[in-house]
């Protein structure tokens, strides 16, 4: 099961209007992995996530998920196949209750039959959501909103979860809690591809990482390898250490 290629992206180019945001990107995600994308803002990580989710379409190259060509599919078809995205900024439905948000998560027909089980599992993972299930989503704290966004993603019964900037604007304790939750999600056999700003933390949590610069992958490898790479140290940890 592990080591089988789940998502294979080959040589894609993606445009925002006339601006080319991704150049010749190739990425492989294997089942059960926890994979990270690293890079500064506007380096193309979110664009890649949106392309995988079908919100954007590559003009060149190909994407395959579980052996199915997903290059030209629309977002709802991608979700049916088992990829969900937890978007940057959480983007929960602000005027709905917590429970309704989770219910929308299981909108796709693939997840309707397993809805009850999934809801129990989400509540196990984030007991706070159960406590607050009748609360209007926008009244939750930032951390709780992020839990809701992840929970909502889990409701679609995904094989692969894309998580964009999970810890943005959250307190360190909450970030720890969320990463613990990600580990549990992974133990259930869900593959995770995530984007983080904090490089050090990312390399501690991920098995493998791809480093993005100006829409290209400049480096990739296992976290341990990257940790030792001079370029990474210079580009990221130099700054990181100063900040702390």
């Amino acid at each position: 099961m592990v080591n089988q290629v789940l998502l294979k992206i080959s040589n894609i180019d993606v445009f925002h209007g006339t601006f080319q945001a991704l150049w010749d990107i190739s990425i492989e995600v294997r089942t059960g992995e926890m994979l990270a994308l690293i890079g500064s803002n506007t380096s193309g990580k979110t664009t890649l996530m949106d392309t995988i989710s079908g919100l954007l379409h590559p003009v060149k190259g190909m994407m395959e998920f579980n052996g199915v060509d997903i290059t030209c599919l629309d977002p709802y078809q991608i979700v049916e196949l088992g990829i969900t995205q937890v978007p940057e900024g959480r983007r929960i439905f602000p005027d709905m209750t917590v429970l309704d948000n989770l219910m929308i998560g299981s909108y796709c027909s693939c997840a309707r039959s397993t809805r009850k089980q999934n809801l129990i599992r989400v509540y196990e993972l984030f007991p706070k959501l159960e406590e607050r299930r009748k609360q209007i989503a926008k009244t939750l704290s930032g951390g709780e909103q992020q839990m809701l966004a992840i929970g909502r993603g889990l409701m679609a019964d995904p094989k692969l979860m894309l998580i964009d900037e999970m810890s943005l604007g959250l307190a360190p304790i909450i970030i720890d809690e969320l990463f613990k939750a990600l580990k549990k999600i992974r133990e259930r056999g869900i593959t995770i591809l995530f984007v983080e700003q904090n490089v050090k933390r990312t390399l501690e949590e991920a098995d493998k990482a791809y480093i993005f610069e100006n829409g290209r992958v400049t480096l990739s490898g296992s976290s341990a390898e990257l940790y030792e790479k001079k370029q990474v140290k210079k580009a990221y940890f130099g700054i990181d250490e100063c900040e702390i």
Binding site: P75, Y76, E80, T84, R91, D100, R152
Partner: protein
Amino acid sequence: MNDILTPILMGIMLGGLYALISLGLSLLFGVMRFINLAHGDFVILGSYLGYGILTYFGFDPVIGLVISVPLMFGLGFLIQKYLMSRAFEVSSDTPLIIAFGLSLIIQNANQIAWTPLSRGINTGYSNASFFIGSLQFPVVYLLDLLVGILVMLLLREFLTRTYLGRAITAASQDKKAAELMGINSKRVYGYAFAIAMALTAIGGVFLGMTFPFTPTSGISFLTIAFGTVIIGGLGSMWGTFIGGIILGVMQTLGGYFFGPASQMLVVYLIVLIILAVRPQGLFGR
């Protein structure tokens, strides 16, 4: 004292009708951020459908809704699928200009089919009245209020309880997130337009029983619907209802103080003033 009570109560009942004809406009704006410039003409089309069904088949126009609602539902779906979905891809002004074109097409089509003469839907109960104390009111106005409330409640139940309704609500709160949840936004838009048009058919029939109408009445009722929605603030159903009542009361009071010929003028001026002063609506954030 009793004199002024009559227009106020009538205005409140009219508010039900105005909320009813605004629901479609409000729904579309919520989901697609698009104000349908042809909305008023669709309402009038609904009135003519009710009129035609009564005149040619002899069905009560409320029963006639069984025919006109699916008809308008289908028409709405087609318009979204073949016109609007493409228009949104061209530029942000395109849907507006296309809706303007649609508005004139419907006006002209109504004129060809029914002549420019003023029509009204006259049923057995059109001239019936009821009393509150010693004040006399047309039964149709009471129907307007009751149906307005009923349709609003039904729509709310639909939007919160059904799969499709929840998808529409989700798409109106955050389109991108809704798509990421596996909601097919194109399909949702199609259904939202279709439902808006079906609501329009209902609104049109009750409008036709309340007021006389001509093929060019559409702009008046677009203005009323738009005014109702902005007074109430977007997305709030009770706000829409209150907006309808405010406009209804203003209209009847305008008629009471300045004569029936100027009542629409009062409505126009109020809408313009609200647009100028508080375009986000009286209850909007």
